[in-house]
Subunit: 362 residues, 2 copies
């Protein structure tokens, strides 16, 4: 958590709403600072910088290119619509900028591979902006899942990530536009549930992915709700449901041979500074099977910094090591991003092929 | 809850372990009494009656037939292995005994229809022994699910029912024997999850049922773990996982357009006299999407009688009305039992056909 001697200087590409949250996170992270923001409209960028309390030293640009050309920018945060990711992430990498990429990271793994190869060949760090990965609760939950005595072997996991889009959202949000975020609810909400399942499974890819029948689409054919089942060679199964048409829920329910993990706000905690999860182990019925013991235990995990600031901090630590110590980029982040995208692609392919099982080829 | 003037007199067929729980329930229910018990061994029946504190007036028989021939038996509780249900439930109905039938009720819907037709033509009440249906918590949860303002329209539901069989169970329990309970975990644990899904869906049958790939089987080919997805015409989806190979979990996680319901001990509550469930409605993100509000609310539902005694009470009320007032048997119970069996059959068929979608024909 200790700040590097010189903080990582971020450039922000675009004035997306989500960038407001990440801008605050950059301000909160001890090893990062906002150096520049670029928009296609310099007026918009100026107003955005002001509204979001950017440092007075922030350089305001009327294009994304200008941010990438600024030698005082070490890293870029890319919250642009998904269809623009491959262009701008590749350009960023070519300009030797480290890339913190908003999800869904790409329209398909072919596109993502172009981005990842460019990052690798230019020696820059890549990370997708899946914030919950960086909450200390996530590490605590992983401790439980990894405990062969408490959780045992993973048998089944279900994840839901849904929220209810209002009329404005369902008509105008980029997440439902076929030319901007063509993956719809699968790329947006589904990304998190798929990541949750892979995280629970120690990132071992499933053998097959089968979409649940009858997703809901808008008139442009963009997915508004869908789901899938995943199966592994050893009998493990996973299911998920993602939706823009249901009340907000962010669940992971994992069954191990010896214990269970439950969390209901895994993507964004109910509260910023403390987050709950629930475990139980060795459950059994009492006399005459009229009760079950023990009841699950609640665990609360505190955090001084919000998860998105911890993400920025982790990313900046890696960037700092590359800059200051000549370290290699951390491969974990591109690897799990690519695996997540592979499953997203498989769900989409299964839907398009009539809900047949799709094999994952790594 | 008021006792009829003369309590319903139960005969118990066999000395199954689960019958101990139901025997206590009959003793607790104000409108029921144990009148007789039969086993293939009169010594076993005698010992069983003594161990379980049966009234001294209980008649002990060395056969199931003798219980059915006793004119002082109004109703029978049938906890025999599933493969014996059709024989003994049909005989009971023919002898004008009302039938409280342990689940899984039959090996397939064809068998169940034989039972149901015999009950109907003999004017006796049929009910399956799905105890959680009778807990006052279940009615409270249904109130929430039925509230168009709080829960809205059902979009997705997931249920898990699992418990970890030990070596003794996995080798010798009737639930893993192909000649006794050939449906294995699907008939035992899956029955509850399927019922939970149908209950959540107001018993509207899904259009298709698709088994999850790669269930686990024992050497005799009996299912030890499996799952399925269910889909309705309107985009609703459901998934479940049932298992003898995972720590005990009894979850329903339901997503509505406006709210969510969660319960983690739906089959047998953690405590006998008070049971929790969790609801949340109108969830949304706070400023900058750094928190979610509201957090779910816990609801505790008290019950004076355990759910299995409430089941006996409800069944006995119906029997009492038929006996005392000439009422017709309540059709709700055979109807939902048959629907549950139809889905069980569809999951089995889907597994056998290679995980293809199976249409439900009612």
């Amino acid at each position: 958590m200790m700040a590097e001697s010189s903080p990582v200087r971020f450039g922000i590409l675009g004035c997306a709403n989500i960038a407001r949250k990440v801008s605050r996170a950059i301000a909160l992270a001890p090893n990062a600072t906002i150096s520049a923001v670029g928009s296609r409209s310099i007026e918009k960028a100026t107003a955005y910088a002001k509204e979001n309390g950017y440092p007075s030293t922030t350089k305001i640009y009327g294009s994304y290119e200008a941010v990438l050309d600024d030698p005082e920018v070490d890293a870029v945060y890319v919250p642009l619509p998904t269809s623009l990711h491959v262009k701008w992430a590749v350009l960023a990498a070519q300009k030797k900028k480290h890339v913190l990429l908003e999800k869904p990271v790409a329209l398909n793994v072919k596109e993502l591979d172009v981005i990842l190869e460019e990052c690798e060949s230019n020696g820059v760090q890549y990370m997708d902006a899946t914030m919950w990965m960086h909450h200390p609760r996530t590490a605590k939950m992983k401790e439980f899942l990894s405990d062969s005595q408490r959780f045992g072997q993973l048998k089944s996991v279900h994840s839901t990530f849904a929220y209810l889009g209002d009329t404005e959202f369902l008509e105008n949000n980029i997440r439902v536009k076929s030319d901007l975020d063509a993956l719809g609810a699968l790329g947006d909400a589904g990304w998190y549930s798929i990541r949750a399942i892979l995280w629970t499974s120690d990132y071992e890819l499933p053998k097959t992915v089968t979409a649940l029948r009858d997703p809901e689409f808008n008139e442009a054919g963009v997915i508004l709700s869908c789901g899938a089942s995943l199966s592994w060679k050893d009998g493990r199964v996973a299911t998920f449901y993602c939706s823009f048409l249901a009340n907000m829920a962010m669940d992971i329910v994992a069954s191990g041979s010896k214990g269970n993990l439950r969390v209901h706000d895994f993507v964004v905690p109910f509260q910023e500074n403390v987050a709950p999860f629930y475990t139980v182990e060795g459950s059994w019925v009492g006399e005459l099977a009229t009760s079950i013991h023990p009841a699950p235990s609640e665990h609360q995990v505190n955090t001084d910094l919000p998860q998105e600031a911890l993400m920025v901090n982790e990313f900046s630590n890696l960037v700092g090591s590359i800059k200051g110590k000549g370290s290699k980029p951390e491969k974990k982040w591109p690897t799990i991003s690519r695996k997540t995208q592979l499953v997203v692609d498989a769900v989409k392919a299964s839907i398009e092929k009539g809900f047949v099982p799709v094999e994952i080829i790594y």
